[in-house]
Structures are given as C-alpha cells and as structure tokens.
C-alpha cells in the first residue's frame, strides 16, 4: 500500500470517528445543522489536501474541529447576520488551536444526542432521515450511501440537500427534546436505526460489502445511543434486538443464497458473543422497569430463540405470551398469525388452527401467502392431508418468491 493510500485510509477512519462530533459541536455554535455539515466537509477536504503532505496531526479530531470552525467563521462573515453570530462563536475559535491537546470527546454527548434527534426529525421523510443519519452520524460518504440503497449518487446528494433545507425551513431547534415530545422523537430515531439495520439484514440483492456495513453501522449507532440515553429502555431493547438478529447472519442463508428458516439454521454458526451482548442489553432494558414497548417485546422474542442451543429447547409458551403482549401494543393480524404458530408449537396444532381460523377473515391477511401456508402446516400435523394439500397449493399461487413456491408445491405433492 502506498503512503498516500495509507494516509487516505487513516483520514477515512478519522472522519468516521470524528465527523459526527465535529458536526454536532459546530451545530451547537451555529444553530444550523446544514452549515455545520458543510463546514465539516470543508475541513475534510482540507485534511485530504494537507495530511498526505504534512502528515496526520497528533490530534486529528481537534484539527478537524478547529479547521471547520474557522471555515464556519468565514462563511458566517459572508452572511448578513455576521455581527451577531461572529460574536457568539469568535471567542471560542480564538481560544482553539489546531494542535489543541485536549480531545473533542468531553462534553460532546449532549451535542451528539441533539444531532441524532435532529437528523431523525419527523419533519423529514423516511429516506431523508436515513440518508442524513448515515451521512452525519455514520460518517458515510454520499457514494457509499448510494451503493447501499442501490440509487445514484446524485439521488442521495439531493435527498441530503433537501433534508437540510427542510430542517432549516421548519426551524427545527438543535436540542434534545424534553417531556412528552421526547418519546415521539425517540420513536422516530429508533425507527430510523432499525430501518437501516433491516435494509442491510433483509435485502437479498445489492452490494455484498455495503449491505453488512449497514447492519454494522445501525448496530454501532444503537450502541452509541444506548450510552447517550442509558435510561431509555426502548433504546437498550432495540440494541438487544439488533445484536441478536445480527448473531444469525451467517446461518440465515444456504450455500446458494437461499433463505434458511430459523428452526432449521445451524446454531453452531450463530455468533454467541452477539447473543450474549443482546441478552445483556435486554437485561439493562428490564432493569429500568418501564412499560414494555414494541422493541422490548421483539427483543424478548428474539432472546427466546437466542437462549435455545437447540430448536427443541425453545420456550414456545413464553413466545406465545410475548406475541399476545405485542398484539396489545401493536395490534396486527400478522402478529396474531405468529402467535398462532407459537401456540401450535407450545400446545399443539389444534390450538394454532383455532386462532388461524379466527383471524382468517382479516383484510390484511387476504392474499398473504403465509396464512394458507401456516394453516396447511397445522392441518397436515392433524392428519387432514386433503385440506392441507389445498392450502399449500393456494399458498403457492399467492407467493411471489420462486423458491418458496417450489417448496410449497413440494409440500402439496407430499400430502
């Protein structure tokens, strides 16, 4: 590896570690997230120009911060409100030097938290929140975000520009929300992190390198958030959920890329370190004694599987109970269908079939292939093979997944 390439990789690493902190601190001074992000980018460009020649400074984070602040001053000077704002931040810049020995970690927590809440503000659409979060908090480049989401660089760039403008137009304050607003805004933050995670976890197409990177980034940001907001049970719950789900990533597809169902996975391929971390995060959530939220219940469900070294060790009774709780928090026929599966595993196929028949008229389940698939499974276990065959055939006609259709038709043929 050439010396310049090595320095560039170091700059990438430093940027990934420091950019969110630099943007957050600048946003506190300027009260303008868009300007803060632009000035941080300018500092990055300066680093790319200077560090290969002059070497990486002793404290690269402080260097980036000072450079970005100076750019911000220059920028503000060009703006009409120069007099007021320069007074606010000028003093601070004069005191800082590029070789400042102190790091920028101290007292940055609140700024970082404010940045997270701002990037995930509900005034923005989902795609904008995701792009802004990855850009400002994950330190990802525009082209990396574009690769991950299979869109063009210009699409992501436009999303980010529009998002920053929308934040400015809406006058979104750079702060951590308080009171009743906190829970709504926190839900928005958690939604964004879980969306990023699922984008990497669920997708079966796209860049092989970038997709796992999305999972890793969502997980990392979740852990960061858990350190910043340790008293929020749903934050720990989401971390637990992501840790446990990520633990199965090597076991969930076969050699040909085909999905492997949870109960058929080789648990030797599960990452037991991540499971342990997930269970620990769940304990932290439980210790806070807060009412169970949707992420808590989903994490507790994932934990039931994570604790079982073998499929037959799974605590299906607890899973059925947890689905009941989830149904109360977020009522949905899909949750009920999952509960039917759990009931069947815990108490036998007749119990599951009774619930499936109860919910089969739900509008949301019409045309959903898993309804006849699950019903067929229960019927088959009860020895009602003729009815089971018809259900599998119906499910095969409804699914859009070719592999799944083949599997369902094989099951129908075997009845």
């Amino acid at each position: 590896m050439g010396a310049t390439t090595s320095v560039h990789r170091t700059i990438d690493a430093v940027w990934r570690m420091e950019s969110a902190k630099v943007i957050a601190a600048l946003a506190r001074y300027t009260r303008d997230v868009g300007l803060a992000e632009e000035m941080a980018q300018d500092a990055l460009v300066a680093a790319l120009e200077q560090w290969p020649e002059e070497g990486v400074p002793k404290n690269p984070g402080a260097w980036l911060m000072t450079t970005a602040k100076r750019r911000a001053i220059d920028q503000i000077r060009r703006r009409e409100n120069f007099n007021r704002k320069v007074e606010e931040i000028g003093r601070d810049v004069q005191e800082a030097t590029p070789d400042a020995s102190e790091g920028i970690d101290d007292e940055i927590g609140d700024d970082l938290l404010s940045l997270i809440f701002t990037a995930c503000h509900p005034v923005l659409g989902t795609e904008a929140r995701v792009a802004l979060t990855l850009k400002m908090l994950g330190g990802l480049k525009t082209e990396e975000i574009a690769r991950a989401f299979l869109v063009s660089d210009s699409t992501v760039a436009q999303r980010i520009v529009r998002a920053k403008k929308a934040l400015a137009d809406a006058g979104v304050p750079f702060e951590v929300p308080e009171g009743p607003e906190l829970q709504t805004r926190l839900a928005s933050v958690l939604e964004v992190l879980y969306l990023i995670f699922n984008e990497g976890y669920s997708a079966t197409q796209g860049d092989d390198w970038m997709r796992p990177e999305l999972c890793a980034e969502a997980l990392r940001l979740g852990r960061v958030l858990a350190e910043l907001a340790p008293k929020e049970a749903e934050v720990h719950s989401l971390v637990a959920l992501m840790e446990i789900q990520a633990s199965r990533s090597k076991a969930r597809t076969g050699p040909g890329g085909e999905p492997v169902l949870l109960l058929e996975q080789d648990r030797g391929k599960w990452d037991w370190l991540l499971i342990g971390r997930g269970l620990k995060a769940l304990e932290r959530a439980e210790a806070l004694n807060q009412p169970p939220g949707p992420y808590y219940v989903q994490a507790a469900l994932a934990a039931c599987h994570g604790r079982a070294r073998r499929p037959e060790d799974t605590d299906w009774q607890r899973i059925a109970t947890l689905y009941e709780v989830l149904g109360q928090i977020s009522p949905s026929p899909i949750v009920e269908l999952n509960r039917a599966v759990a009931l069947s595993m815990a108490y036998g196929p007749a119990a599951g079939l009774a619930l499936v028949d109860e919910i089969s008229g739900a509008k949301a389940l019409q045309g959903y292939h898993l309804l006849p698939s699950v019903r067929g499974d229960f019927l088959l276990k009860l020895g009602r093979t003729k009815e089971a065959k018809a259900e599998f055939e119906k499910a095969a006609s409804l699914t859009r997944n070719e592999r799944e259709r083949t599997l369902l038709l094989e099951r129908a043929a075997g009845c």
């Binding site: 090595s6 990789r9 170091t10 990438d12 690493a13 430093v14 990934r16 570690m17 690269p60 790091g103 970690d105 927590g109 990177e213 890793a216 997980l219 990392r220 940001l221 979740g222 852990r223 960061v224 350190e227 370190l273 991540l274 971390r277």
Partner: protein, 76 residues
Amino acid sequence: MRFMVFVRSPDPLAALHTDALERGGVLLDAGDLVPHACGVSGYWLIDVRNREEAVERVKRIPLPACVVEIRQVAVV
C-alpha cells in the same frame, strides 16, 4: 471486521480510560489475561471497519507505557 487488541500495561486494564471505545459503539468485549512478568495484560475485542480505524481508536486511549498489539480476528 473484528480486531483483538492485546495490551501489556503496568496498570490493570480496568484502570485505563477505555470509555471512548464504549461510547464509540465498537467495544464488543474486554478481559484480563494471566499477568505477565512485564506487567498486567488484557484484551479488547473491537468491531471496526478496517485496520486503520482500529489503530486510530486505540490511539485515542491515554495509555501508560504499554505494549499494544492489534490483530485482526479471522472470519470462519
């Protein structure tokens, strides 16, 4: 990717200020090793994007006169 950071330090690992790793969301595990003749030993297991990030993360920790070895964990 994961990196194992071995540290040989005159002070116990717990006395080192490693919260930057925790706050950065990259610390997966940490533990002590059987003490060595040259000092106390321990490890951190971190999950980062590449070796450069591993090195930069470790450089942020104010370490006393330590011997540090950073090794990438093999993916099985």
